[in-house]
């Protein structure tokens, strides 16, 4: 009895399955890779010397940092004012705008990359429009340039800059701006002296997140950039494809990881003290990835209106020109975020044979081409199978882990959360190589199980983050109350905890499926030759023959996030203990 109770008191063991998967497929292989890069058992830094001794390597390294820096800066320049304007509008409009930012965030990044090919291609939207206007005679080289890389990267990363910024800005008490004004500060001074400093945490976390994720970019630069725009991930992938020289690959992977970690250490960590450090960083990551989820919560909980603050705020910015230019800016940003998806949808109905925009006629032939081709439908089926498997596995394992970690001491929780998040913070190619090595040991390369386990690494992280965020708001006294009324631990969990954290679990499950359904980098490394998932086939086709079949698939994928959002909205809305729902009495 006593031991049972003690176990129930420290349910850290619930996290064991998650960590078992993590260690077997990712943790131990990472250690092995590191040892390989160090020429274990003789131990030398020869591989690293060789890496840095090679001029081309160093050039790619600097290029990676440069591209990431520029993309991050662009995101901040566009994202900060956009976030500011989004927080300034009324609650209803804000919700709409946030949803419009979240939709591209949830859209397959392959689709979004593909959209830029349609827009920038030789017969794409821009070139055709310019030619029709008579401004050019031969197409401009837009695709396969550095500019195309920046466009694509900023387009993909912008939501991840805007969302943390909005969340921090919403937390800033707007009456502070009014107070500054009342003390004689002009609007700009009030902004500069009060608002900007208070929004710095958002700038820092948004920029850090974007920068670190940019460092690991592979697909977008490879698809949109020229040969000279290779990033380190692309370079590593090429190494893997040409010669599977583990030592060289491992070395490059650890160099890439090293930059990411150094950046996190320099900018991410609060240097206020060694004790608070680990806790803060990890929870910041949780916070970042949890951000989109909180928006859904927000529009489920509209009763938390801050009308008073909103009206105070309106008193601050009343100049007409500011309003007009603000509106225009937000509209342009939203267009930039959403327009590519719309272009893809239009493209999918093209009657032409090539990626020609605007299309010469309307037809459904590319949809037919997709559904009639067994290699496409087979890939779709494979992806759905794997996706469902991943969702089931990671939702159960991730929820258990979140519950277990929620009940441990904060320092251990922070550390373990940081560990679980590694598969979504580390560059995908690094995680992919580790997973390759891990699955090789189990003989699971080229199997659906292997792919599902690889996807589960990231999916568990998403489930953990989202369920943890829900659990953090969960009042544990409710469990104590249930226990005091005679409910054992299991009944308490089923009757009280589970119904109350179900929205988080649903959200986590959706993210898990989405992650699996969109994953290509890791999949390409572990899928072997026989298995083709949908994103993998899409990526291969994008590189070789570009025909609008992909557009048909892409526009179907564009609809997915809309479906997700509706599904999430319905679960969350229903779970809200609200006045509208409760009045009719249940017939019991």
């Amino acid at each position: 009895m006593n031991t049972l109770q003690k176990l129930a008191g420290t349910p850290i063991w619930l996290a064991v399955p998650a960590f078992a998967i993590l260690l077997a497929i990712f943790g131990i292989p990472m250690v092995l890779l590191f040892l390989i890069s160090l020429d274990a058992p003789t131990f030398s830094v020869a591989n690293y010397q060789a890496f840095f001794g090679h001029g081309a390597n160093v050039r790619v390294l600097f290029q990676t940092i440069e591209v990431s820096l520029v993309a991050t800066t662009l995101c901040l320049i566009i994202g900060y004012p956009a976030a500011y304007l989004i927080t300034a509008v009324s609650k209803g409009l804000r919700t709409t705008l946030v949803v419009l930012v979240v939709i591209p965030y949830l859209t397959s990044f392959l689709v979004r990359t593909y959209a830029w090919i349609v827009i920038l291609g030789d017969r794409g939207l821009i070139n055709n429009v310019l030619r029709d206007l008579g401004l050019i005679s031969s197409p401009l080289q837009l695709l396969y340039t550095r500019m195309a890389v920046y466009l694509g990267m900023v387009h993909i990363m912008l939501p991840l800059m805007i969302l943390p910024l909005v969340s921090v800005m919403l937390g800033i008490d707007k009456s502070l701006m009014a107070a500054a004004r009342s003390m004689g500060a002009r609007p700009f001074a009030a902004f500069w002296r009060v608002f900007l400093p208070l929004s710095l945490p958002g700038i820092r976390s948004g920029s850090l997140l974007v920068f670190v994720l940019c460092l690991g970019f592979y697909i977008t630069p490879a698809a949109l950039g020229g040969l000279r725009d290779a990033m380190l991930s692309t370079f590593i992938a090429a190494q893997v494809e040409t010669s599977f020289d583990m030592a060289r690959t491992a070395t490059s992977a650890f160099v890439l990881l090293g930059i990411a970690v150094v950046m996190l250490v320099i900018f991410g960590l609060d240097l206020s003290g060694p004790r608070g450090r680990a806790a803060r960083t990890s929870w910041k990551w949780v916070h970042l990835f949890g951000t989109p989820m909180r928006y859904f919560n927000e529009f489920a909980a509209y009763y938390r209106a801050k009308y008073w603050n909103a009206s105070l705020y309106h008193a601050v910015a009343n100049n007409r020109w500011w309003k007009i230019s603000g509106t225009v800016f937000v509209l342009l940003t939203m267009c930039f975020l959403l327009f590519p998806s719309i272009v893809v949808i239009i493209m999918s109905f093209s009657a032409g044979e090539f990626l020609q925009f605007p299309p010469p006629g309307i037809s459904l032939k590319w949809y037919r081409s997709f559904f009639d081709d067994p290699s496409w439908t087979g890939a779709a089926l494979t992806s759905i199978q794997i996706g469902l498997g991943v969702t089931l596995l990671s939702t159960i394992v991730g929820t258990l882990a979140a519950y277990g970690l929620n009940r441990t001491v904060p320092r251990l929780r922070s550390f373990l959360t940081l560990v679980v998040l590694a598969p979504i913070t580390f560059p995908s190619i690094v995680v992919g190589i580790a997973a390759y090595l891990g699955l090789l040991k189990f003989g699971l390369i080229g199997t659906k199980t292997g792919i599902a386990l690889t996807h589960s690494l990231g999916a568990i992280a998403y489930v953990l983050v989202i369920v943890s965020a829900t659990l953090a708001n969960f009042d544990r006294r409710l469990e104590q109350a249930a226990m005091s009324m005679g409910a054992g631990p299991l009944w308490t969990f089923i009757r009280v905890t589970l119904p109350l954290i179900r929205p988080g679990i649903t959200g986590g499950a959706l993210f898990a499926f989405m992650h699996s359904f969109d994953e290509v980098v890791k999949t390409s490394l572990v899928s072997g030759v026989s298995i083709r998932t949908l994103p993998l086939k899409m990526w291969e086709d994008m590189r070789h023959e570009i025909d609008p079949t992909i557009a048909a698939l892409a526009s179907l994928l564009v609809l997915l996030p809309v479906v997700w959002l509706i599904a999430l909205y319905v679960t969350w809305w229903r779970s809200r203990p609200s006045a509208q729902r409760a009045l009719p009495e249940p017939a019991t």
């Binding site: 409710l478 104590q480 109350a481 226990m483 005091s484 009324m485 631990p489 203990p577 009045l583 009495e585």
Partner: protein
């Protein structure tokens, strides 16, 4: 209080609870008798909530044992203890209606649905919430939520009721009303009740006995009147009501008893009279001590008037009920303070 004749329902036997190296509760021994309303009073961090959690079974003792009805419960999980608990923020299940909330403890005890419905209706009526069974907790006011929480704790007729700051979230008027209601329910159900609070009014109004805790230890256990009138220590004197402690009075404190060593003299502000220096003496002036001083401050507080008077080395607080025909003193006025020698108490320093 004849409670000492009643059998013990709950016994703490030298219970210690450590959090890391810090004891939250150390070597606590306490007996709660059947049907008694016992309040544990103390400032935050005094270990009172830990004591309640130990009793509820959410926390296990590091040392010592807890007996309920004569049996050790140290290893019994909370869901087998058969207690009703009212939590500080009520902990009503937000996803269940009031009725389903009330049914929950009955369901867990395997009571059939017809019987459950009957008992729910009965208790709803008892707490004056007849028509609220179908509401969600979020649709109730604070006072209504409080009553649902209380009903939910009582519905399964547990032998023990635990209250964690039960009225803390209510505003002043509602709190007084609920105090009366709580007292009525306790009398009606005759249930052994342990209440934790930092609100001394609540403790004085509701309890048969009060335990004052400080830094994980019991400072004093007594009936409310005894506790207020004869505090054992300076801490208790200060924590319950206001107290004048004579640190360095500059005059000899007269008393009918000999001052024990290690104590200081204490006098409640309402036991001191204030008069003009030239005012006639009381008839029983030989039973009284009087000193003169200067008014430093006068505070008007509705039915009361408070003077801070500098006399000797101390600032003496005097509390006087406002009545017509009283002389009102201003800062700087000379006054004579006097009190019955028998009102002086000696408390452990």
């Amino acid at each position: 209080m004849q409670s000492s004749q009643l059998p013990a329902q709950i016994e703490f036997c030298s219970v210690t609870k450590m959090y890391g190296p810090i004891p939250a509760v150390s070597n606590l021994s306490l007996i709660v008798r059947r049907g008694e309303f016992l309040t544990i009073l103390g400032p935050s961090g005094s270990g009172k909530t830990t004591t309640l959690m130990l009793l509820a079974g959410f926390v296990t003792p590091s040392k010592g044992d807890i007996l309920i009805g004569g049996k050790s419960v140290a290893a019994v999980p909370s869901y087998r203890r058969d207690q009703g608990i009212v939590f500080q923020s009520y902990a009503l299940f937000p996803h269940l209606t009031v009725r389903r909330n009330l049914e929950f403890p009955l369901e867990m005890r395997g009571i059939r649905s017809a019987e459950r419905a009957k008992r729910v209706e009965r208790i709803l009526k008892r707490v004056h919430l007849n028509d609220f069974g179908g509401r969600m907790p979020s649709q109730l006011s604070g006072g209504q939520q409080q009553r649902v929480a209380l009903a939910r704790a009582l519905i399964a007729d547990p032998p023990i009721l635990l209250l964690d700051e039960p009225l803390g979230a209510l505003d002043r008027n509602l709190r007084e009303q609920m105090q009366v209601e709580l007292k009525g329910l306790h009398k009606e159900f005759g249930i052994t009740t342990v209440c934790v609070t930092h609100d001394q009014d609540e403790a004085l109004t509701l309890s048969d006995r009060i335990v004052v805790m400080r830094e994980g230890r019991i400072e004093q256990t007594d009936a409310p009147e005894v506790l207020y009138d004869r505090p054992a220590t300076r801490f208790v004197a200060n924590f319950l009501g206001e107290a004048n402690i004579f640190e360095n009075p500059g005059f000899k404190i007269q008393s009918d008893v000999v001052q024990p060593s290690g104590t200081v003299a204490m006098l409640r502000p309402e036991r001191i009279g204030v008069a003009a220096p030239a005012a006639p003496q009381h008839a029983d002036s030989d039973l009284r001590q009087s000193v003169t001083g200067t008014v430093a401050d006068m505070i008007y507080a509705g039915p009361l008037r408070k003077y801070h008077v500098r006399a000797g080395g101390d600032l003496i607080v005097v509390r006087e009920h406002v009545a017509s025909g009283q002389q009102i003193f201003r800062p700087g006025d000379e006054v004579r303070l006097e009190w019955l020698r028998s009102d002086v108490r000696f408390v452990a320093a």
